[in-house]
């Protein structure tokens, strides 16, 4: 697993040196969430009802904006060629890079989500399920997003295209992530939805590294 830890450590160190990138994603998450009260009005009960969904949608969009960081820079400066030639299994390298992406974007998003939930008047019962659902859902967001990010390497309009490829695949995460929060608000257990999210994560962990590796191999070809 030395390839895994080496790549993970390098990506974390790079993210730390360029921490403005991660902060920008968090700032986007905040500003996009803050737009909603202006759009739907500041009534407490309206905001409380939509808070879970709004936070999930904006978190997905924020993560989407950060996806091209996973591979695009490495693709442009030639590092990707070398990583493909590292002699280590490419899916392992992919998982390391996805881990780094999750730690530097998913985790900050999760950390600020309770703060933003306060501005949307999310009832107290929703906080636990919201954070847990994000914790279980955002790794899948990074894993599935990595496939899309690898597929659009070298395209003319990568960013817009990436959203078209990836957002439809995020719908199940959005459905169960939001449902976990809503269940808690209506006094129902949110464990079933959280289990489904965990299941999605296991599925994504099984398939996405291979698909991403295949996409990377054709990208450097």
């Amino acid at each position: 697993m030395s390839a895994f830890s080496t790549v993970l450590a390098r990506d974390l160190r790079l993210a730390l040196r360029q921490s403005a990138d991660s902060l920008t994603v968090v700032a986007f998450f905040a500003i996009a969430t803050v737009l909603f009260p202006f759009g739907v009005g500041p009534e407490t009960n309206v905001l409380a009802r939509i808070a879970g969904g709004v936070l999930w949608v904006t978190a997905l969009l924020a993560a989407l904006l950060s996806l091209d960081r996973i591979f695009a820079v490495d693709f442009e400066d030639g590092t990707l060629d070398q990583l493909v030639l590292a002699g280590a299994p490419l899916p392992v390298v992919v998982v390391a890079k996805v881990c780094a992406h999750w730690l530097t974007t998913g985790v900050p998003l999760i950390l600020v989500s309770p703060l933003l939930a306060v501005t949307l008047h999310l009832p107290a019962a929703g906080y636990g399920p919201l954070v847990l659902a994000l914790l279980l859902g955002t790794p899948t967001v990074s894993l599935v997003g990595a496939v899309g990010a690898a597929l659009v390497l070298g395209t003319r309009r990568g960013g817009v295209l990436l959203s078209l490829l990836v957002l439809p695949l995020y719908i199940p995460i959005l459905i169960f992530g939001t449902a976990a929060v809503e269940a808690a608000l209506t006094g129902l257990p949110s464990t079933p939805m959280l289990s489904v999210l965990a299941g999605f994560m296991v599925l994504a962990l099984t398939f996405s590294p291979w698909a991403t590796a295949a996409a990377l191999r054709q990208a450097v070809e």
Partner: protein, 229 residues
């Protein structure tokens, strides 16, 4: 993980590198066809040809980055079918330097060394720093380097972990005279210890008595190559 290991200066699992009947297609066009080469241990192969004759394409094909439309590569006369095992025995230096501007020169080299040799061998980069006179720059962030210095840093990667096959795409670009001499010394030392090298180059002053492969000779000229068979 199968990989030719050995400390600096040790010899590698030496093997000959060869290819037969190679053809490659780029953008629907057949770049070359019927290409064959044979590179013995310690040998050097210089690729020559006009722009578009496929020097870079052939090097990437040799590295296993791209697939051949036809033909077979072999290591020690055994056909290469595991790209990861093949990758572990080669170093590829392409047009792009794969240098991370935010990391220091030493950190850049340490990353590749621990990826190729496993972690915990921190003494190993000093030889690489010396080979291309990078020691004074070791602590600087790579974003401060000039184009030539970045390229030297890319070449220094050759020294952080031994590998029997070097594939170099225009390695002399952007290098000053003393760096060209350093490159020539490095290649000569690599060959002396049994390593093989393939160089795509216009001016090959840094490779002594290498075989030359002129790619222009393998450019297809008729229109009959559009079917896969």
């Amino acid at each position: 993980m199968v990989r030719p290991m050995g400390g600096n200066g040790d010899s590698f699992q030496i093997g000959g590198f060869s290819g037969t009947g190679l053809a490659c297609r780029r953008g629907g066009r057949l770049v070359f066809t019927g290409l064959a080469f044979n590179l013995p241990p310690g040998g050097a192969l210089v690729l020559r040809g006009a722009n578009g004759s496929g020097k870079t394409t052939l090097l990437r094909l040799m590295a296993g980055l791209s697939g051949a439309a036809a033909g077979q590569l072999a290591w020690d006369k055994i056909p290469i079918d595991d790209p990861d095992a093949h990758a572990a025995r080669l170093r590829f230096i392409g047009h792009l330097d794969a240098v991370k501007p935010a990391l220091t020169v030493a950190e850049n080299l340490e990353f590749w060394m621990s990826l190729w040799r496993g972690a915990g061998l921190n003494a190993g980069i000093s030889q690489a720093l010396d080979a291309f006179d990078m020691r004074p720059l070791a602590g600087f962030p790579a974003r401060l380097l000039s184009a030539g210095q970045r390229h030297r840093l890319a070449l220094a990667r050759l020294m952080v972990a031994p590998a029997p096959l070097w594939l170099l795409d225009e390695p002399g670009n952007a290098l000053d005279e003393s760096s060209l001499a350093a490159l020539a010394r490095t290649i000569a030392a690599h060959r002396a210890s049994g390593g093989a090298v393939v160089v795509a180059s216009h001016g090959a002053a840094f490779v002594e008595d290498g075989a030359t492969l002129n790619l222009g000779a393998f450019t297809p000229t008729d229109a009959s190559h559009w079917s896969e068979e």
